[in-house]
């Protein structure tokens, strides 16, 4: 009922190489709006503040800064990271096997319907069917999960 934009982004968009990721960070950080929204939402840009409110649904289990005791893996530095790759978190086999690298497109598909995108993963979340909310969330994550210590 809510596969939403699965496949809606060109798979090469943003890319996953470190240099491209950094370039994307620059765009996001400077104007707080995802270029991606231009493909699907010409009227309204993604809204970081609204995304922060959407993130409250995630905050029960995920930290943004790697501190505290949470049931889910931290999202610090998640964009550009291979799914299931944090060494100190015990992921499901499904997540580790997934070959997904987190970027705006994969986060969008995952959050739209987590079990459809990576079947058998352990995240206890039904998904966000509203594309605008997902865009806002991704815009927020792009800013808030930035790992300033990583190279």
């Amino acid at each position: 009922m809510r596969r939403g934009v699965a496949g809606g982004y060109p798979s090469t968009w943003l890319g996953t190489t470190p240099s491209l990721s950094r370039g994307w960070w620059f765009v996001v950080g400077s104007c707080a709006t995802l270029v991606a929204t231009a493909f699907t939402s010409p009227v309204r840009g993604a809204d970081v503040e609204k995304g922060k409110a959407v993130f409250e649904q995630c905050a029960a289990c995920h930290s943004l800064d790697g501190t505290g005791d949470y049931d889910g893996p931290t999202l610090k530095g998640v964009i550009g990271r291979k799914a299931g790759s944090l060494e100190d978190y015990r992921y499901s086999a499904a997540m580790k096997r997934s070959d997904v690298v987190w970027d705006a497109a994969t986060v969008d598909q995952y959050v739209a319907d987590p079990q459809a995108f990576i079947p058998g993963n352990r995240m206890a979340f039904a998904g966000i069917s509203d594309k605008t909310q997902r865009d806002d969330l991704i815009a927020f994550l792009a800013v808030a999960t930035k790992d300033t210590n990583s190279k």
């Binding site: 409250e56 649904q57 995630c58 905050a59 029960a60 289990c61 005791d69 049931d71 889910g72 015990r90 499901s92 058998g120 352990r122 206890a124 979340f125 039904a126």
Partner: protein
């Protein structure tokens, strides 16, 4: 030889909701606490992570999160004239074990009891006359009023993340809430959950009939929520694996994600798991506890933990067992009606419910939460409800919930369907999606013979006498079920189902099939040592440095589930210890 440990301020026996609340409140006040939990450590990740937690066979059938009856159980008989036999498999009720206790595997229904329950004897005498109360029904008032407990109900609702709709805020009726609710200071912390189709049908049908439907308050978070202590709850995903399971989404208000981690963050708090308390140790006067004796069940090592305060926070049944094993207070004798400890055991009669089958409706029962539902209180908390017509005290709520649609346990089929074989298979495939249930949850008034004592024959793994339960349903219960069951059937008929089964009648209590884990009484609270085991602060009249916290304190059982007042009373007791007992130990008045 037991190893004697260093004295602490408080030793807490059992770390579920009540123990967790005391642990947090008292450790944050700087008191040195040791909590002894007979089961193991638990955390949502990995213990309740999907997909493994959705194992119906392991958790719902084989009771992975519950007490092991091979180690300790209770014996049962219907009346003093019968021999008692040990319950070797769990059935009618499921005491939890392990960190969080039953607060992990409960469904989450979180009522506030009303003034009718808080002042049961006074209310029924005034409303229906003294002769309306049978001579063998020792009901009594709670020692505190609803108004006194209101802030503590509120505190518990906010801790546990209760979803609901207020019916009465500071005396003003609120549309959509429970019309018969007592006045409350503010609304629930979270809005009600989405209703299922069956709940919407029930809501509309009962409103049409002039009843007052409302969403049942439940500790299943309707949206993500951070409680006042900073504990984070996720949103319920309607997964249908709630009761008998831990919550994968941290959406069920549970002590292991709220109060217990807050206590564990305190330097003055220490948790010891696999620590089975066998006895409260008293000094030579028998008026003062000096600590508890416990066994580390992982290696058999015995310990003595001295403490200035002993807080019994085990499951209601086990609190009473520990009091009797430790000779705290006078054991109740049903023959002479002398003594107190073990008195007024109550349960929760069911059987008045109706299952409806519709050729033309699809209910998707797998979309379920432990506690969401629509209820009517017209035959329970309603002061205008004419109990003379029913001929009984108390009453029952009528509810449509849908706690699960799991493949092993949920197989509704119409009456007359064969129990197995091709016809059954055809029927279960057809009706799985097309059935809904209207439930009736009744109050239970005490009776002089419904009580606990120590079994003269059977012993647990530590060589101690098992707790013996003598219990049966009585005339009052049968009348409530018969009367309210007919009301449920009228509502059902108004929905024009293809067929329906029920309501049943209430016969003898059967301890084998699951009914509810709502066991109350045995260490009841009251206004004097003559009528109660504990005072209004749940403090033992006989041994004032022992507090006995939980549903064991209820003098009767309401038609409401017990956890709301259990949580409120735990906060109430913690407050009394912090603000009064600590400054001036001794019996509080």
């Amino acid at each position: 030889m037991a190893t004697r440990l260093r004295e602490v301020d408080v030793v807490i026996v059992g770390l579920g909701w009540t123990g967790g609340i005391l642990a947090k409140e008292l450790s944050e006040a700087g008191m040195r606490i040791v909590a002894l939990e007979r089961g193991g450590m638990r955390a949502t990740n990995p213990d309740f992570a999907i997909p493994l937690i959705r194992d119906e066979l392991k958790y719902a059938v084989r009771n992975a999160l519950m007490q092991n009856p091979a180690r300790d159980t209770l014996t049962f008989r219907h009346s003093p004239s019968e021999p008692s036999l040990p319950m070797r498999q769990l059935g009618s009720f499921l005491p939890g074990e392990g960190l969080g206790g039953a607060g992990v595997h409960w469904n989450g229904v979180t009522w506030r009891w009303t003034g009718i329950d808080h002042a049961a004897r006074t209310y029924y005498e005034q409303r229906h006359g003294k002769s309306f109360i049978p001579a063998d029904m020792p009901i009594q008032d709670w020692p505190m009023t609803y108004a006194e407990l209101e802030p503590y109900y509120d505190k518990f609702e906010r801790t546990a993340g209760v979803s609901g709709k207020a019916g009465n805020i500071r005396g003003t009726k609120q549309p959509g809430g429970n019309f018969f609710e007592q006045s409350r200071d503010r609304d629930y912390p979270l809005p009600a959950l989405e209703s299922s189709y069956s709940q919407i049908l029930f809501n509309d049908a009962t409103a049409q009939m002039g009843y007052h439907p409302f969403p049942r308050p439940c500790a299943n978070a309707s949206r993500a929520y951070t409680n006042p202590d900073g504990s984070r709850l996720g949103a319920c995903v309607y997964c249908g694996h709630c009761e008998r399971f831990g919550c994968e989404a941290n959406a069920k208000g549970s002590p292991h994600i709220t109060v217990i981690p807050k206590a564990m963050a305190q330097p003055t708090f220490e948790l010891r798991t696999h620590s089975w308390v066998t006895k409260v140790m008293l000094d030579s006067t028998k008026k003062k506890a000096i600590g508890v004796a416990y066994t580390d069940v992982s290696n058999g090592q015995e310990y003595e933990q001295p403490a200035a305060i002993v807080a019994l926070c085990a499951y209601a049944i086990n609190n009473v067992h520990l009091m009797l094993l430790s000779s705290i207070g006078t054991p109740y004798d049903a023959t002479t009606q002398k003594g107190i400890v073990g008195k007024n055991y109550c349960y929760q009669p069911g059987g008045g419910g109706v299952t409806l089958f519709f050729e033309d409706k699809i209910f998707n029962p797998f979309m379920a939460t432990g506690a969401f539902g629509i209820a009517i209180d017209d035959f329970h908390a309603n002061d205008q409800f004419d109990r003379a017509a029913m001929g009984a005290l108390g009453g029952a709520t009528i509810n449509v919930g849908q706690s699960n649609g799991r493949p092993i346990g949920y197989r509704p089929v119409p009456a007359g369907t064969p129990r197995w074989g091709a016809e059954w298979k055809k029927a279960t495939a057809k009706w799985y999606l097309r059935a809904m249930n209207i439930g009736v949850t009744a109050s239970n008034m005490p009776n002089r013979y419904n009580a606990y004592d120590l079994d003269p024959t059977y012993k647990n793994v530590f060589g101690q006498p098992l707790l013996r339960l003598t219990y049966n349903f009585l005339e009052n219960d049968k009348k409530v079920i018969a009367y309210v069951g007919q009301k449920a059937a009228e509502i059902a008929r108004s929905l024009n189902p293809t067929s329906m089964t029920g309501p049943g009648t209430l016969g003898d209590y059967n301890i084998v099939p699951y009914q509810s884990t709502h066991n109350t009484g045995g260490a009841i609270m009251g206004s004097s040592p003559g009528n109660s085991a504990v005072n209004k602060y749940l403090q033992s009249w006989d041994v004032p440095n022992v507090f006995v916290v939980g549903a064991s304190a209820f003098p009767h059982n309401s038609a409401y589930n017990p956890t709301g007042p259990v949580g409120a009373l735990a906060y109430w007791t913690a407050d009394a210890i912090k603000k009064r007992y600590r400054q001036r130990p001794g019996l509080m008045t």
